[in-house]
């Protein structure tokens, strides 16, 4: 922005820009972030972003936990799609351990991950509507999310803090009636998506708020390191699932929606489309999945079966060593990345060969997006911050770590 913003705007009437502290405790800055805005009327001429109000020291906490104990912490990164974080972290450690997980585990991870993505996108689009005042659309979307969470709860035992991933496998297999329940949920989800679509997509008020606001160019997106739906809205078709397939994403058909204008409306459309694609992926997973083990057979990593723990000293010793020492990860470092709800979620992990991580760094998409958000906000109106911040979908837990 120009340097002379503090100069009087009008030579005759003395006026000066207004500084406005938006956040950290402000209804629009959910997830706690602070914008220090310089306003000319309602026009934002300068925006300084300050993150860190939800900092919990995830990375430092992890250094004092065993590899397994990190899972509950990862739940709380992007708390709208905890499963994706779980699996992303598990994948990173597995790459460091150089172990393979059974096929069924990969299928379940793909499936549950997409469920989580559904919940993320439903929340994001719903919340965007809510903050524009269209509360009904939000609650319909939330109803869809509840259905997804019901499924997640049935499989993992919790709705939000799932801690379902395990290094070398999963906590549990899918439940028996999962497929039937998914079919019901799917039917309702499609209905709900149609309703939200009806309420918002062609509504002129909504369009006026979303079209042409918060515009991101592809160059800017790439240079700031944006990923995920936000980058795809500019036309860059980067999706980790497509470009570097992991789990079973190489085995399923799906489309990666891309926009071309890079505005809020493109991001909204992409999320709406990804809901459809996620449903497609889940269907394919359920179809192609075959029964089998869900945990790796490496005794260094996976807890033995309970039966053996209770009754054999070998199982008991194995169990004890993993519990009190933690999984022994060989020294080394790895950067592993997956496509989370908001973009590329990377885990850079260094192990010194003990039961605890030496260093875990999270490349959290939200934090990186906050680095360039002022570019999207500056020049717009105060009210444009709302849709822009919503479609960016910053999640405090992930951003501040």
């Amino acid at each position: 922005m120009a340097e002379n913003i503090y100069d009087p705007i009008d030579q005759d009437v003395h006026s000066e820009p207004m500084m406005l502290q938006m956040g950290p405790s402000h209804p629009a800055t959910h997830g706690t972030v602070r914008f220090t805005l310089t306003l000319e009327g309602e026009k934002v001429i300068k925006c300084e972003t300050e993150v860190g109000y939800l900092h919990r020291g995830f990375e430092k906490e992890s250094e004092n936990s065993t590899w397994t104990q990190v899972f509950p912490y990862t739940d709380r990164l992007n708390y709208v799609s905890p499963l994706l974080n779980n699996f992303g972290y598990a994948l990173a450690v597995e790459r460091l351990l150089e172990i393979e997980v059974p096929e069924r585990c990969d299928w379940i991870r793909t499936l549950m991950g997409e469920l989580s993505r559904l919940s993320d996108h439903l929340t994001c689009t719903g919340a965007a509507a809510l903050e524009l005042g269209a509360m009904s659309a939000f609650l319909y979307a939330i109803e869809g999310r509840e259905l997804v969470w019901d499924l997640i709860e049935e499989v993992t035992g919790a709705r939000l803090t799932v801690s379902y991933g395990r290094i070398g496998g999963l906590k549990d297999d899918l439940t028996e009636g999962f497929e039937e329940r998914w079919k019901y949920a799917k039917r309702r989800l499609i209905e709900i998506r149609a309703e939200v679509d009806k309420l918002l997509t062609r509504n002129r008020i909504f369009l006026d708020r979303f079209e042409g606001t918060g515009v991101l160019t592809p160059e800017m997106g790439i240079s700031y390191g944006y990923t995920g739906p936000v980058l795809r809205s500019t036309g860059v078709d980067y999706d980790v699932r497509k470009d570097h397939p992991y789990f079973m994403y190489g085995e399923v058909d799906f489309d990666v929606p891309v926009g071309h204008r890079g505005d809020n409306f493109d991001r909204y459309l992409i999320r709406m489309e990804e809901i459809v694609q996620s449903i497609r992926i889940i269907d394919q997973c359920l179809e192609k999945m075959e029964p089998g083990p869900i945990n790796s057979d490496d005794p260094r990593v996976v807890l033995p079966e309970k039966e053996k723990v209770y009754n054999t000293i070998e199982g008991m010793i194995n169990h004890f060593k993993i519990i009190f020492e933690g999984i022994q990860v060989p020294p080394g470092e790895v950067y592993s990345y997956t496509e989370a709800g908001n973009g590329e979620l990377g885990f850079y992990i260094v192990s010194n060969g003990t039961g605890k991580p030496w260093k875990i760094h999270v490349r959290s998409p939200s934090l990186i997006m906050m680095g360039g958000i002022h570019k999207l906000i500056e020049g717009g109106l105060l009210a444009d911050i709302i849709p822009t911040f919503d479609t960016i979908n910053m999640i405090g837990g992930e951003c501040d770590k």
């Binding site: 260094r300 009754n311 000293i313 070998e314 194995n318 004890f320 009190f324 020492e325």
Partner: protein
């Protein structure tokens, strides 16, 4: 000097070195149960078998000495197979006891199973049942099922203590460790058998079920039980000492320590003086420093000549050094007395009669013990009124119960009695001012053992209550009385102290060599 090739690594070792030690020098671990560096080598567990080129069978690495040009494989297929078989065999009758076994976490069976076996047992036999929770001695419990019969404990009693209590009875899978008839494992070093037991067969009664070992944090420290100054691992959990474990130091205690010393940690947590007190009322340090300095200053003004000071050989050298400076520069008295615990049992191995860890330290810091009066003189002086004000470090006095009672009675005659101690004993109630001091687990410092060996110890956890190290208390009082002694870290005191003692040519011995 024979040259030997271990797993492809060429290494030159001294003559007579065993393969196991040579492998350790070359950086390879050879698993072993029965072998202990301080004991004789029976080679009965067969865990350390290694492949020697040219030899028909696998050789026990703990026993076989290297010869020039020997080629050893510790990780060959044959060795691994042997290791797996040995472990499978040892675990055959091992009970599923990890949840209730105190050894879990430092158990060699657990470590080796994960490192060298990690497979399921192929045998589907019922497990043998043997004696459990057998009180083999007053301090040690025996569990027959967990025992792998490595005989370390038997060899310890034969070779180290020479008391010969233990042996193996029965044969085959009924074999167990037992005491000889009419004996029990009651030598003063009996808990060492639990230390060296590679599995959970022998466990300490005191430590039993107190804390899981993997939760313990370990700090290098020195035992304060007697003037021998055995090196220990001070193992604590949540600001509480859970146990002492001997730390290898060939100059002092080798791998061992006595049972009494092991239990001396309890003093740290019993009868502690936790808050500064003035005539029985708890104060904070600000308040008490003011009160104390005012009272001391008044006492000095009234009659500087009637000021007595009891120095304790329980305190570390750094504390004593500041005590000395405090006495000389602030109080200016020369009526010094020596406190400390009375003498006790001694033997010719580790236990010393002098039960104070730092008498040599007092000697070094104050330049000999000649200036100090004894307990009788102290009591006489109080009773005669020669001492009106007494400043006492720690509560111990080298006196029997009767004399001590006389001392306690005589305290009433004092105008001012300042106690600066870890413990309340019965003195804290009588003290006009009671200042809480830290134990050796809560601060760092140096003890000089009977032999003149200065041994540093580390701080394990935060001080209990409001207690402060002695040296900090002296600094507070000195500053409040207008003659500040300024130090920030213990090492500053240490540097100055060693300089001073060198100047005195009092030959402070070099610090103990690291392990």
């Amino acid at each position: 000097m024979p040259k030997v090739n271990i797993n492809g690594t060429e290494i030159e070792v001294e003559k007579g070195t065993t393969i196991l030690k040579a492998a350790a020098q070359a950086g390879f671990e050879v698993p072993h149960f029965c072998y202990h560096p301080a004991l004789s080598i029976p080679a009965n567990c067969r865990m350390c078998l290694v492949e020697v080129e040219g030899a028909r069978s696998l050789e026990p690495a703990c026993y076989s000495e290297v010869t020039d040009g020997m080629v050893v494989e510790t990780k060959s297929e044959r060795v691994i197979k042997a290791q797996k078989s040995v472990l499978e065999f040892i675990l055959l009758n091992h009970p599923v006891d990890c949840p209730i076994c105190d050894q879990a976490g430092e158990c060699k069976l657990q470590d080796y199973y994960m490192a060298y076996d990690a497979q399921e047992s192929r045998l589907r036999a019922e497990k043998n049942q043997k004696v459990k929770v057998f009180p083999i001695g007053p301090e040690v419990l025996y569990d027959g099922e967990r025992c792998i019969l490595c005989t370390r404990c038997i060899r310890f009693c034969e070779e180290i203590t020479g008391t010969n209590e233990l042996t193996i009875v029965q044969r085959g899978d009924s074999a167990e460790i037992r005491t000889f008839p009419g004996k029990e494992l009651d030598n003063p070093y009996s808990v060492c058998t639990a230390d060296i037991c590679p599995v959970g067969a022998l466990t300490s009664r005191d430590f039993r079920f107190k804390c899981r070992v993997w939760l313990l944090q370990s700090t290098d420290s020195v035992c304060t039980g007697c003037s021998n100054g055995c090196n220990i691992h001070l193992e604590h959990f949540r600001n509480e000492i859970q146990r002492y474990r001997p730390r290898y130091n060939p100059q002092v205690n080798d791998y061992w320590m006595c049972d009494a010393g092991r239990l001396s940690y309890k003093e740290v947590h019993t009868d502690r003086l936790l808050r500064p007190m003035s005539n029985g009322a708890a104060l904070n340090w600000h308040g008490v420093t003011e009160t104390a300095s005012a009272k001391l200053a008044r006492a000095l003004d009234d009659d500087a000549g009637s000021f007595g000071f009891v120095v304790s050989p329980q305190a570390s050298c750094e504390d004593l050094f500041l005590a000395k400076r405090f006495i000389e520069e602030v109080l200016g008295t020369d009526q010094l007395y020596l406190g400390g615990k009375p003498d006790g049992f001694e033997d010719d191995f580790l236990i010393k009669a002098d039960k104070n860890p730092n008498r040599q330290g007092v000697k070094a810091v104050f330049g000999g013990l000649n200036d100090f009066g004894d307990v009788d003189k102290l009591i006489d002086d109080i009773e005669s009124g020669a001492i009106k004000t007494l400043y006492m470090m720690e509560t111990h006095l080298p006196a029997d119960a009767e004399t001590r009672q006389r001392f306690v009675d005589a305290l009433d005659k004092l105008d001012l009695f300042v106690l600066q101690a870890q413990h309340c004993a019965e003195l804290a109630n009588q003290a006009h001012l009671a200042l809480p001091a830290c134990s050796h687990a809560e601060t760092e410092g140096t003890f000089v053992n009977f032999d003149g060996l200065a041994q540093p110890f580390e701080q394990a956890f935060a001080p209990h209550g409001d207690s402060l190290p002695h040296w900090q208390i002296f600094m507070r009082l000195a500053r409040a009385m207008g003659q500040p002694l300024t130090y920030t870290f213990v090492h500053q005191i240490r540097d100055e102290m060693f300089q001073a003692s060198d100047a005195d040519e009092n030959g402070e011995p070099a610090e103990a060599q690291a392990e």
